[in-house]
Symmetry: C3
C-alpha cells in the first residue's frame, strides 16, 4: 500500500504531554539533563563492535534482521520471515546463501509496511534514528525506500558510522554487554588497556549453566568444569566453578553485575543434601520440569550468596514464556519475536531467598517484570521494604512511553524514586540507544512535571530527581 | 428521592478530554469519520426484527426488561427484580401474567433511580438514546417519568420507529446476529432476496453442542445428528455434523464468523483416540468438570481447523463466570446481570491451538477478554506476533469510555493498531447501537488526538487510523 | 546528605490536576465539601486517647515509631530500624531501655532522609501535618531537624494538642477504633455518658478467635469461653460466645461494624457436622494450613449470618501476606512494614457466602483489596450486582492520590458511585487524619471534575456526588 508522503521532523516537545503547564515544566527539567552522558548498564550489543571497531553492514542487516520488535510486527501481519532475510535455523554455508534474499527487497517490504509501527516504540525509535543519526527529513515509505537503503548503506561504510565514532557521538559513558558463563570474553580482554576498556564492560549471565531444561545444560556444566579445572560433577565443585567464572568476569570483563533470565521468580533454600541430590539429577539429565524449576530457584539463592561475597549486583528478569511459537522455533530458532510474557508471582517466589539474604547490607538485587500487575501489588511494596531490593525500569514490551509512565505511576507512591535504578536500554540495536534513553528521559521529565504541576513535589525536588533518574541512581545501583 | 431537574443536551465535544489541544484534534478527526456507516459484526439483536419489521413494545419492554446492565445496577441497590417486570424462570401463561407488573410502575422505579447511572456507560447510552432518538431535552427523573414513558411508547407505535426505518436512520450498513448451532435461521432465511439480506447476517455460535457442562448438551448433540443426518454418537459423525451446520449458517444466514463463549481460553490438541474417548464420555454424561473443560478446549482447536477449511472467522470470548448468583439463577434464569469476569490466562491456554494452526495464513481468530490485565501482558504480545490472531475491542464491562481508552493505551504499543478489528457493540439493545458506536469513535479519536498532541504520530496518520478503526479494519477482519 | 532549603506551603489547588478546566471545576466542588465534618468509620487510633485525653509524647514517638509507612521506606534504604528507636520484640523493661535511642537522633536520621518521601503519600501527609497542624513554613531537612523536633515536642505538651482539642480542631464528627474480640473495651466504656461517646465507637475484629493459624488461637478460644460463660469447646458454644461478644461490642462500644483481615477472601458453606469436626481440629491444634483456611472461610459465612441477625456491617480486608520478612519479624514483631500484598481472588472465593446470604436485604458487606487488578475485573462487577456488597475505598498501599484515582477510574463505570462507601483513613496516625481525608476529597473532586469537563456528568450531579462521596455514603454504609 502506498501512502502519502509525510515529513519526518521530531518535535522538540514530543512525549511531554499535551498540557501546556506540564510541557513547560517538563521542558525545563529535560533541558537540564538531556546532555548528561548515557550510562547503559544492561544490554545486548556485540562486544566485537567495541573491540574491533568494524563497519556495520547494510540497512537491512542493521535494522531488520537483528530486531525482533520489527519482524514480529511484520510477521503478525502475515509477512513471511524468510522474505525479510531472517536466516533459517540450521541452514549454514551454501544452503543458507541459496535461500538468502536481496536485502534491498527485504527493505522494500519493511518500507511498504512501515505504517504498521504507528504508535509503537519501534516506530518512535526508528524515526529518531532515521532523523537524528542519518538526517532523513521524509518519513520512510514505499517510494523513498531505496533512497533510504542506499543512503544508510553508504553512510555505514564511512568512518563516522563505525562503533567507536558512534560511542563518542552518542555520548555513551559506559555500556554493559551480556555474556554467558562459558564465554571467553575475548573482546573484553581485547579492549584491556585501551580507552574502550573504561567504557565497555560485560555482565555475567549464567543461565546456560543454571537452567537444566536447556538441551546443552549437561555439556555446559562439563565445559564449566574444564574451563575452571573444577570437578563439576559435584555440587561443591560446580558452585566453586561458578565462583571462579564470576571472578573471571570481574577481572577480564570488568563486570559489576550478573543477570538471570528465568521463566519465573521462584527461589528456594534447600538443605545441602537436598541440593546435592537435586544437582545430581539435573547434571545427569534425570530431573523433571518441577525439579529443573526448583534447581533454578535454588541457584538464585546460591547466586545471591555469591553476590554478597563478591559484590556483583544481581539482576533478575523473570516471566517470559520463551519461543512460544513452536513451528517458528523449529524453522528459525530462538529470539524470533515469539517470546510472550506470562503472569509472574514474586511475593511467595522470592521469600526463600529474601528470608536468607534479603536483609544483608551487601546484597543488591534489581527486579524486573513483564507483568505490570505486579508493580503496585508486589514489586513496589517489596522494594519499599527490603534493603536489598531495587526496581529495574519498565522492561521489554513495556519499554515504551505509556509503559514507562505506568511504571512510575504504579511504583512511585509505594517505593519512591530512590528504590529505582534509572534506565536500561536492554538492546542489541546500537544505533537506537540514544533514542531509547531520550524516551526515558522525556517520560521521566513528564512524570515529574505532572507531579509539580499538580503541586505534589516542588520544582527543586523535580530537578534533583531528574538528575537522579537519568544519571545518579544508575551509577549507584550498578556500582559504576 | 426526587432530584432537581437537569437539562439533557449532549455536548458536541463529549469524551474528547478536557485538554483544548486534544479536543481540537479529536474534533477534526471525529468530523471526518462520524458519518461513516455503522458496521456491527458481533451482537445479539433479534433477527425477527429485521425479518418481520414489527413495532417495538413499550418503554419498559424496550429499555429495562432486556438490559441486564440496567437491572443489575438497580438490583445492586436493593430493588427487587420482580418489581421491574423481570419474568421469573419457569413461570408461563396465567401464572406469569398474574405476577406481571404494570410497566408504568416499573418505569417509575427506573426513573426514580436513574441517578445511579451517573458516570456509567449505561447512563451515557440511555441519555444519548433519549436525546438523539426520542428528542428529550430534560434528563429522566422522578417527575418526568410518566411523560417519558408515554412519549416513548407513543413513538414506538409509529412506523418511524420500526426496525427497518431505524436501520436506515442509524445508517447501519451491516449487522450480525448470533444464533446457536441448532437454530433454524428462520428469520435469516426469511430475508433472502430482500434488501435486508445484504445488511443482516448471522454468526455461528456452537456452545450448545460443544459445552458438555450444559444440562441440554446430550439432547443437543442428538438433535444435531437429526438435523444433519449424521451419526453424532461417533466423534467423526459429530465433527461432520458441525461442518454441515457451519455450511448451513454460511449459506442460509450469510455467516462470515463463528463465536465461542467459553469459561476459559483453554485449548487442546489430543490424539484421535483420546478425542474419541473424551467425546464418548461427554456424550454419555460421564465427563467430570475437568474433562468437560478439556473437551471444550479440544473443540476450539477442531473449530479452528474447520475455520481454515471454510473461511469463517473465529471469535473467542472467554472468562465469564456465568450465573454467579445461584438464587437469582434459580428464580429468574440466565443473563440476569450475575455474570462476573474472572482471571483469564491465554499464553499457556492457547498454545496447543496455536502450535497446530497459529501460523496458517487462512486462519483468523479474534480474541476478547474480560481481564484487562491480559491486554499488555498476554494479548498484545500474542497478537503482535501470530499472524492468525487479532484483538477484539474492549468487551462488555469494559465497553465504556475509560475501558476503551485503557484498551488502546495498553495494547497499541505492542500490537499496533492493525492487529485490532474496530468496534463491536455486542448488544441486544437495538436503539443504543448508534450511541455505542459513537462512544467508540469518540474515544478512538481522543486517543489518536493525544498521540498527535504528544507528537507521537502525525495528523496524517491519525486521519488514516481514524478511518481504519471506524470502518476499514472491521470490514477486513470479518471478511465483509 | 544535606539538601537545599525548600519552602513548605501547600498549594490551594494541589491534586486538582494541571488542566485549568479540571482545576476550576474541582475547586468549585471542593469548596462545597471541604468543611464537611470528618467521619472516620475504620481506623486504628488508640481509644485511650479519647477516654483519657493524655498529651502525646515527642515528635519521634508520634511520627516515626508508630508509622510503618515511614520506617519501611527508611529501612528499604538500608537504615537500621533500631537506630530509629523501633523496639525489639521481647525486650522489656531495663533491657529495652538500655537499647533505647535518643529520640532526637532518630529524628535527625528521619530528617536527613526526608527526601526519600518525594512523591509518596507519606510525604504528602507529613508535609500537610507539619504545615497545617504545626505551622512550619520550611520543609523538613537536615538543618532544621532539631528545630522541628523541639517545636513539635513543645506544642504536644500544650492543651491545644491533646486528643479532645484536636478532635474539635479537626472537625471529627465520628471515629471508629478497632478492637479484638477479647478486648474489655475499657476505654469505650469509660467514655459512656460523656460527649466523646457519641463521637468514638469501636469495631468488632474477631481475627484473634477466628484465625486458627495464630499461635494464640487456642488460648483465645478458651478465654472467649470464660468471658462469655459459654462452652467454647463446642461449635455451638463457640458461635454463641461470638454472638455475645458482638452484643457486648454494640452495647459497650457502640459498634456498628465488624472487620475481618484474612489472608484471602475464601468463604465456605459446610454442613453442621463438617463445621463441628473442623472446629474440633482447629480448637485442639490439629488443623493443617488448608483446614485453617477453610475454617476462616466458614467463619466469614457464619459471621455474615450473624450480621443479618444483629445488623453489624461486615468489612472484609483480604490479601496481605503478613510479616513477609522473617528475620525482621523475629527481631521486631508484627507491623514493621513487611506486610506485602498478594494476588487475591474474589469471584470463586466469595461464592459460598454469597450463594447463602448475598441476596439478603439485611446484609451489608464492604469489600477491600490490595490487588488493584480486581477493581474492574471482579469487585466492580460483584458490587454492581449483589445488593449486599459495597466497595470500600482504595486501601493501604493504594490510599494515595494515584491509587485513589485508579480506584474511581476502574470501578465507577461498572459499579457506579452509589455502591461505594466514602473514605476510610485506616490509620493509627491521629494527626494525619485531616490530611488523609483532604487527599480523598481532593482526588474525588478531581475525578468528578474530569467527568464534568469531559461532558460525562453534569455539574449538578457532580455537586451531589461530591457530597455523597464525602459524607452521605459513609453515614449510610456504616449505619451511622
Amino acid at each position: 500500500m502506498t501512502r502519502q508522503s509525510q515529513s519526518l521532523k521530531l518535535h522538540p516537545d514530543r512525549l511531554f504531554s499535551s498540557d501546556p503547564a506540564v510541557v513547560s515544566i517538563a521542558r525545563e527539567l529535560y533541558n537540564e539533563i538531556k546532555d548528561l552522558p548515557i550510562v547503559s548498564p544492561h544490554g545486548h550489543t556485540d562486544p566485537k563492535w567495541f573491540n574491533e571497531n568494524p563497519h556495520f553492514g547494510n540497512a537491512t542487516e542493521l535494522f531488520i534482521k537483528p530486531d525482533h520488535y520489527v519482524f514480529r510486527m511484520l510477521y503478525s501481519q502475515g509477512i513471511d520471515l524468510t522474505t525479510l532475510g531472517i536466516p533459517e535455523h540450521g541452514l549454514e554455508g551454501d544452503m543458507a546463501r541459496s535461500k538468502s534474499v536481496d536485502p534491498k527487497k527485504a527493505w522494500q517490504i519493511f518500507a511498504d509496511n512501515y505504517y504498521l509501527f504507528a504508535g509503537t516504540p519501534s516506530g518512535y525509535w526508528l524515526d529518531a534514528v532515521f532523523s537524528d543519526v542519518f538526517g532523513f527529513t521524509e518519513k520512510l515509505n514505499s517510494d523513498n525506500a531505496q533512497d533510504y537503503y542506499d543512503k544508510i548503506t553508504a553512510e555505514l561504510a564511512t568512518d563516522a558510522y563505525k562503533p567507536h565514532a558512534l560511542m563518542d557521538r552518542f555520548n555513551i559513558e559506559l555500556i554493559a554487554t551480556t555474556e554467558g558463563a562459558l564465554d571467553s570474553l575475548e573482546h573484553h580482554r581485547g579492549m584491556a588497556g585501551t580507552n574502550m576498556a573504561k567504557r565497555v564492560i560485560t555482565t555475567f549471565r549464567p543461565d546456560d549453566v543454571v537452567d537444566a531444561s536447556r538441551e546443552d545444560f549437561i555439556d555446559n556444566v562439563a565445559k564449566l568444569g574444564e574451563l575452571t579445572e573444577q570437578d563439576t560433577t559435584t555440587w561443591q565443585g560446580y558452585l566453586d566453578a561458578i565462583r571462579i567464572r564470576r571472578e573471571y568476569f570481574k577481572k577480564e570483563g570488568r563486570a559489576t553485575a550478573t543477570d538471570h533470565g528465568h521463566p519465573s521468580a521462584i527461589t528456594a533454600d534447600l538443605s545441602l543434601s537436598e541440593c546435592e541430590a537435586l544437582f545430581e539429577k539435573c547434571r545427569t539429565g534425570h530431573a523433571n520440569e518441577q525439579e529443573q524449576e526448583l534447581f533454578r530457584g535454588q541457584m538464585l539463592t546460591e547466586l545471591a550468596g555469591m553476590s554478597i561475597e563478591d559484590g556483583l549486583v544481581m539482576q533478575i528478569h523473570p516471566g517470559a514464556h520463551r519461543n512460544h511459537n513452536q513451528p517458528i522455533f523449529n524453522q528459525f530458532g530462538r529470539d524470533k519475536g515469539a517470546d510472550i510474557p506470562s503472569q509472574t508471582e514474586y511475593v511467595n517466589a522470592l521469600k526463600p531467598l529474601l528470608s536468607k539474604y534479603g536483609n544483608h547490607p551487601k546484597l543488591k538485587i534489581i527486579l524486573f517484570t513483564l507483568d505490570e500487575t505486579t508493580y503496585s501489588r508486589e514489586l513496589a511494596p517489596l522494594a519499599g521494604h527490603y534493603p536489598s531490593l531495587k526496581l529495574g525500569p519498565a522492561w521489554w514490551f513495556h519499554d515504551s512511553p505509556a509503559g514507562m509512565l505506568r511504571f512510575r505511576q504504579q511504583t512511585t507512591e509505594t517505593a519512591g524514586f530512590y528504590n529505582t535504578v534509572g534506565f536500561n536500554d536492554d538492546t542489541r540495536a546500537f544505533l537506537s540507544i540514544p533514542a531509547r534513553h531520550d524516551v526515558a528521559r522525556r517520560v521521566d521529565c513528564r512524570y515529574l512535571a505532572e507531579l509539580v504541576a499538580n503541586h505534589q513535589i516542588s520544582i527543586e525536588s523535580a530537578h534533583e530527581l531528574a538528575y537522579q533518574l537519568t544519571y545518579g541512581l544508575v551509577k549507584k545501583a550498578y556500582n559504576l
